[in-house]
């Protein structure tokens, strides 16, 4: 085979998209042909340098996330659109401003924490190795976390439910270690986050609640000093069922 033909395969080689056989025969050629080897090295270097030049070249402005989050809220008709409300609003303007700043601060901090957890869940779904301990057996998964976390927790009995445990990994939220457990329900995947309640988490302390955001359902509660967050693209009822199982296990 002429070098021209080998050169045509170099892209697939540097992009790690060559088949096992192609890879083996190309590498055999590269060992004997300095000119193709130099070309391959150059292409690889080019790919790395392009990546270095393009990565995080542009960062979003801090306002953009907020602007988008506002725009994707479910359509709420502003109260002040009603003519009679404008009078009330004008009269109560001062009170409202004070109250809404406080609310907004709590709300946006909570949103940020939730967004972080959602990001973690989505990243897990997109990952090829979503969990560090793979097991459907809670008696394997629970001890795996021992020594890795500053707390212990109980996993639910799933034999009489449609949920399946996939595994777990250690995650970090506000610099403290927590557990992320992955469950399966039919074709849905759900993450359960368990971490210690701490002052930084106060914005999350809303009691049991179901929130719909970005087409995910979420339920969170606090019990025994631990904060639980169940999130996934399953229905709110399914999320609630898993939450109930976890609450029962937590009390046992």
């Amino acid at each position: 085979m002429s070098c021209d033909l080998w050169r045509g395969k170099l892209d697939a080689y540097v992009d790690s998209d060559a088949s096992q056989e192609e890879l083996a025969s190309l590498e055999a050629h590269l060992r004997t042909c300095p000119s193709c080897a130099a070309e391959a090295l150059g292409s690889l270097q080019m790919k790395r340098m392009t990546q270095a030049a393009a990565t995080a070249r542009y960062s979003p402005s801090p306002h953009l996330r907020l602007r988008i989050e506002e725009s994707i809220q479910p359509n709420r008709k502003p109260v002040w659109a009603l003519p009679w409300m404008r009078l009330v609003v004008a009269a109560a303007a001062l009170v409202l401003i004070v109250a809404s700043v406080a609310l907004w601060m709590r709300y946006s901090a909570r949103e940020q924490t939730l967004a972080e957890l959602l990001d973690l869940h989505v990243a897990t779904m997109a990952s090829a190795n979503p969990v560090d301990v793979i097991s459907t057996d809670r008696h394997t998964v629970k001890p795996w976390f021992q020594g890795k976390l500053p707390f212990t927790f109980n996993l639910p009995e799933l034999q009489n439910s449609s949920f399946k445990l996939v595994g777990g990994r250690v995650m970090y939220l506000k610099h403290s270690a927590g557990a992320q457990l992955l469950f399966e329900l039919r074709n849905h995947r759900l993450s359960v986050f368990i971490f210690q309640d701490q002052p930084a988490m106060i914005p999350l302390a809303m009691g049991a609640t179901t929130i719909r955001e970005m087409a995910f359902n979420l339920e969170t509660w606090s019990e025994g000093g631990l904060r639980y967050v169940v999130v996934g693209d399953a229905s709110a009822a399914d999320i609630h069922e898993l939450s109930e199982l976890l609450r029962v296990a937590g009390r046992s």
């Binding site: 021209d4 050169r7 045509g8 892209d11 697939a12 992009d15 790690s16 998209d17 000119s35 130099a38 070309e39 090295l41 150059g42 292409s43 270097q45 080019m46 790919k47 340098m49 392009t50 990546q51 270095a52 030049a53 393009a54 990565t55 995080a56 070249r57 542009y58 960062s59 979003p60 402005s61 953009l64 996330r65 602007r67 988008i68 989050e69 725009s71 994707i72 967004a115 959602l118 990001d119 989505v122 990243a123 779904m125 997109a126 074709n187 849905h188 970005m214 087409a215 693209d233």
Partner: protein, 166 residues
Amino acid sequence: MPLFAQLYNFAHWLTQDRAAAEDLVQETYMKALRGFSSFQQGTNFRAWMYKILRNTFLTTQAGLKAGAYVSLDGDSDDDKPSEPADAETPETVLLARVELETIQNALEKLPVRFREIILLSDLEEMSYQEICETLGIPVGTVMSRLSRARKAMRELLAAKLRGASR
């Protein structure tokens, strides 16, 4: 919001304009949210998001210009294999003198269809299959366009270095 910073970076690379990139990212999330039920579990979430962003870009003014460019300069020879890079420009020698800023400038100068495919492959490290899902073109076209895009990039860099050494 998943992929927020990466999507923004990619959008800014495509549009070369902050305001346009912000609008593009915002519209992408709105469309993704509205269309999430059509997202198939088990298919590639990242490719799906980039596809929405890229298709949205193609309907903007800057994108329409880039899209028109695709059909005018004959994308059909995408299907032919590209010629190997000139032996006269050994890249190992070439790259030793290249700075990241020079590469950034070259990327900015590339036609959008070349820039986007290089970014998907080198920056986002997508497989050919993911790129083909994102751009909606066959794998063979992905490979030939990528090869041509890299050749164009090398030529831009070589021209720049010749200009600088003169």
